[in-house]
């Protein structure tokens, strides 16, 4: 198996606090990895580093064989998108002034013809089960529907690597399960998934990345 994202001796500090210390890991193509740990363990920072959204203090981050980030360099977040990486943030960061449909189609309009963008947006909305809310604004959606919209927005872009931060947090068990099923389907379709969660998730066939003895280690479940 080849590596989708790998991290070599990565260290990251926030002020005086060391958040990530000498982290080395590799996420294989098509793998489903759950990054699990208590609050403050650096899960979100690790995910943001993988998405090239944080400067790093030591080490390097590679997409495939290509070095994307080293200390002192700050690639544009769009570089990650250019390598098929999409991110769903914990706070979702939906665009509140745009309808559900426009939230999904906006990134597509830049890259595809109007008709194709339209088709792709509808397909993503139907897959995530919020097509019937397409005219609503994010403020009118429930927590679960907003999570689905955030997923639809990145799903429509057909990423090869999907980074998700606590997408099932604060959701009722039924909604959380349906979102995990959706992610499971994407995984089966070949998408590499990295999912940050502070709780154990009802999943099969995945690898878990946890802090053990002060180091991030990956183990297969």
């Amino acid at each position: 198996m080849s590596s989708a994202i790998s991290v070599d001796s990565l260290s990251k500090r926030h002020g005086d606090a060391a958040v990530l210390v000498d982290v080395t890991l590799s996420i294989e193509v098509g793998e489903f990895v759950v990054v699990r740990g208590p609050s403050g363990s650096g899960k979100t920072t690790l995910l943001r580093c993988l998405a090239l959204l944080e400067r790093i203090d030591a080490g390097e981050i590679l997409y495939g064989e290509r070095v994307m980030m080293r200390p002192g360099t700050q690639p544009h977040p769009r570089d990650a998108f250019g390598h098929g990486v999409a991110v769903v943030f914990q706070d979702l960061y939906l665009w509140p002034h745009l309808s559900v449909f426009d939230n999904v189609i906006l990134p597509l309009r830049n890259q595809y013809s109007r008709k194709l963008a339209n088709d792709m947006a509808w397909r993503a909305l139907e897959t995530t089960g919020i097509a019937m809310k397409s005219r609503e604004y994010p403020i009118a959606l429930s927590g679960g529907q907003r999570q689905r919209l955030a997923l639809a927005r990145v799903l429509a872009l057909r990423p090869s690597i999907l980074l998700l931060d606590e997408v099932t947090a604060n959701l009722d068990p039924t909604t959380a399960r349906s979102i995990l099923m959706l992610l499971g389907e994407m995984h089966l379709a070949g998408t590499t998934i990295v999912l940050v969660s502070h709780t154990r998730l009802p999943l099969d066939n995945y690898a878990e990345l946890i802090v053990s003895g002060g180091r991030w280690v990956k183990r297969r479940i």
Partner: protein, 229 residues
Amino acid sequence: MKSMWDFSVIVQYAPLLAGAFARTIILTCWVILVGTIGGTVLALLQMSPFAPLRWAARGAVETLLAMPALVLMVWLYYCLPMILGSGRVALTGMEAAVAALGMSLAAFVALSARAGIQSIPYGQVEAAYCCGLSRWATLRAVIFPQAWRRAWPAIVAQYITAYKFSTIASVVAVDELLHAGSDVIAQTYRPLEVYTAIAFCFCITTIPLNALLRRVETRMAWAGGIAVL
């Protein structure tokens, strides 16, 4: 006993006052145009990645905020030709008024626009970049529409203030409403009626404008999916 009020003088000079009122509106439109374009440019320059541009824009805004519009107008009208030579630069009263009031308005527009832009959570910008949007597409589709919605009540309130401030253009002989009113008073000795008529003209335009502003503000806030707090 002779009545204190005699509004026949207003009727008699109505064409003159109406023309002056029209010039007040035209002056205000020019001030709004200059102020909006200048303010938007200053707001964007204040967020430029190039430090010298940022400093220059901040310096300009601070200077314009510190300077009374009347002083700036008089300075542009009287002092600028002295410094540069009256043969090269000689602003008309209207030009000096538009420039001074427009620049003063631009400083307030820049403040409001910058506050509006900075109020957008940076996560939304990161989300846009992570979805492949360019810097310009992010500005145009994500930042500007929301920033405008947040900033425009303050900006439109400044437009209304600029409209009321247009009366100071009478100092540099712009024949706007107050200036024309002073001419009428000089001929008729009826300041009570003339100043009341001028006040009435401003009230019948600004009160409905303020009401419309509040109404549109509420409707726009909901239409954008942003709750009114």
